[in-house]
């Protein structure tokens, strides 16, 4: 066991700290709207210094560093310690960019990666449909080739940020005769194309973060496909891997748990601090045990990547399931700690933490469902992880 990152990284950590202390005043103000020039300038500054899009080649607008597993980790540690804005995230950056780098054409990389990572091109992910959720491969939105264009008809649902997005990466059925996994293609298109209608869907948090998206004879140039016809399922799976790991990192769980601890020191019941109540305290400590276990698991995974150690495969398979479930529990404890005050929402004057406890409690339930539900995760863990047999198949109706 050797938990040091090695002497060669000491200088790098200093470099990160130096950047932070010199530039922290340039951070955009909290709550700045997408497209705000301060946000875009901050993003450009991060990329220019290698603190965002670090390994993306310069030719595509990135910083162009050699791949290194530890440096991004150090960046994230120092940024989080100093509570510095880490720049844009979102599905275009976390999901589409890696897939374009892996499977896109040269022209696609040139066209899309730079504006995407600079926050100038916002994407949404059009996978789920009313009839295709967990069973995503049964999707029916179809695209037919007409000359040099795909003509798309159908409907997507739960499309997060579709109302803000410039472009969409979308799964469509192009080979209706092929077996269901082999008939799907991965298309990219502009959300301003005629024939697209977006209807917002209000979610349980009260916000309209996701949408229904309808396509009627939407015409898209033929070359805006990633991979070949019928390979869309492979392409989509390449990105799902990128998504799952990042949904609920243990370091964020730790900082929320620290927040609950502070809350228990400031909230009182009958004049007594909540932290002094042994029942609540035990619940806090129980969750702390789980957070510590997940943090240790995360160190193990980091080490496995550095040392190309295959023995941590199972440890990696469980992180979406355990991470999202744990976050939901942590947020739930905070609500319990406050009792009836925990119910406050919206403009209630007794709101704590800007209402983030209730909001995140619901938000993480969304993440337990989105990106492959907990039940689907368990199918994957038992079948691919433990080698248990699949259920007998039932033929399509």
């Amino acid at each position: 066991m050797d938990l040091s990152y090695g002497t060669e990284y000491i200088a790098f950590r200093e470099e990160v700290k130096g950047f932070i202390s010199k530039n922290k005043d340039k951070q955009p103000k909290a709550g700045a709207e997408p497209g705000n020039p301060e946000l875009l300038a901050w993003q450009a500054l991060l990329i220019a210094n290698g603190f965002h899009s670090r390994t993306i080649p310069k030719a595509y607008g990135g910083y162009g560093a050699e791949p290194d597993i530890i440096k991004p980790r150090i960046i994230s540690e120092e940024f989080s310690k100093a509570q510095i804005n880490t720049g844009f995230s979102g599905q275009g950056i976390s999901m589409l960019t890696p897939v374009l780098l892996e499977m896109g054409t040269e022209a696609q990389k040139q066209q899309f990666i730079k504006p995407t990572i600079h926050g100038e091109m916002v994407w949404c992910q059009g996978y789920s449909e009313p009839g295709a959720g967990s069973d995503l491969a049964s999707l029916t939105t179809k695209a037919e080739l007409d000359g040099d264009e795909w003509v798309i008809n159908g409907q997507k649902i739960w499309t997060s940020t579709a109302h803000l997005a410039d472009w969409i990466f979308c799964l469509v059925r192009t080979e209706p005769e092929a077996p269901k996994h082999q008939g799907i293609s991965f298309l990219l298109f502009d959300m301003n194309t005629p024939g697209i209608e977006i209807r917002p869907l209000v979610d349980m948090t009260g916000k309209a973060n996701f949408n229904e998206v309808f396509f009627t004879d939407v015409r898209v140039p033929k070359h805006q496909i990633v991979g070949n016809r019928g390979q869309g399922w492979l392409v989509a799976n390449a990105i799902l891997g990128h998504e799952r790991g990042s949904l609920a990192p243990p370091d964020a769980a730790q900082s929320r748990l620290d927040g609950v601890t502070r809350l228990m020191n400031s909230e009182t019941i009958g004049g007594e601090k909540v932290i002094d109540n042994p029942v609540y305290r035990d619940r806090l400590l129980k969750l702390q045990g789980s957070v510590l276990a997940q943090k240790a698991n995360d160190m193990r995974l980091l080490s496995a990547r550095i040392n190309q150690d295959q023995s941590a495969k199972l440890a990696g398979m469980i992180v979406k399931l355990t991470g999202t479930e744990l976050r939901h529990e942590i947020e739930g404890l905070a609500i319990d700690v406050m009792g009836e005050i925990g119910l406050a929402y919206g403009d209630n004057p007794y709101l704590r933490g800007n209402g983030s406890w209730q909001y995140q409690y619901m938000y993480y339930l969304g993440l337990i469902i989105g990106g492959g539900t907990s039940q689907i995760q368990k199918n994957i863990i038992s079948e691919r992880g433990l080698g248990m047999p699949k259920e007998p198949k039932i033929e399509a109706k």
């Binding site: 002094d276 702390q288 045990g289 510590l292 080490s303 199972l314 440890a315 368990k378």
Partner: protein
Amino acid sequence: MQFGLSQEQTLLQDSVTKYLRDQVALDKVRLIASGELNDAEIWQGLSELGLPGLMIPEAHGGVGLGALDAVVISECLGYHVTPSPFISSAAMAPVPLIASNRDDMLAGIATGELRVGVAFGEAIGARTGAGVVAKGATLSGKCLFVLDGDADHYLIATTDKKIFLVSTNASGLKRNALRTIDITRSTCELVLDNVAADLISEDPRVYERTLDMGRVMQAADTLGAAQCMLDQAVVYAGQREQFNRVIASFQAVKHMCADMLANLEPCRALVWYAGHAMDDIPDEARMLACHAKAHLSEVGRGVAKTSTEVHGGMGFTDLVGLHYWFKRIGANRQLLGSPELVREEAALVQKLVDQA
């Protein structure tokens, strides 16, 4: 950076595993559990592998390894439900004896000839009927559920976190075996009437380190036992057929197994990390030892129940012997502090609450 076991530790794990698989299979465990055999022969065999002196310096006849190495061993012992006094005699006892330079004892412990049991219940939180008091150099009272019913000496901690050493042969000491659900390892009651005792340590930090060492090893023992129960469940589910298919193809069964894995896998990293902290991160060691012990108690209990359920009626019988693991996990949970008590200690360590 390298988080995990070193090559040497993996080799150690392999050689102990091989020994236990070949020499201490379940039928041997059954003999000991039934009282037909005691664990002396196994302890002798483990002594030849150097286990009792694993953490004793080489100068005193030990192997001079650290807590993470001992974690590796403890996990193997749990996996095979091996009867042995490893946690008390090899992991805990050397801590205060090394700190107080009791070189006379160390060589004997290292060879396995001398067994030292541990009676810390008083200091952790005495239960109804227990209670020991020191008067000068003598101890009187009663210690319950003392680790190891066959030891030659016992380390007894009092409420003020002092540690005393008594000989099993000392006059005024009576030892009564106490049967528990876990018949793979023995516990006893010590009844003391003005028994001559050696004061080994007055330093609360020595007491705490001794206890922490035991708790980390217990967590590792539970990790191993729970992993074995999960492995057995997956194997059994792949063989047993109902409704014309193996039960492993039923989603309810698969999800039970996935839950066990999802809960258990992070425990492995936690227990390794806690062992490493005992060796190298003194500031975090106490908190991690408490959390490893408490968290494994909770996860272990869940796995023990779920694996038994996957086995159906067979899990409930003595035929497959799954209950040996179930009970081992149950004993690790209660001994050296039940999870609620241990989490409270973790809260104190972090100063989340004031010392009463």
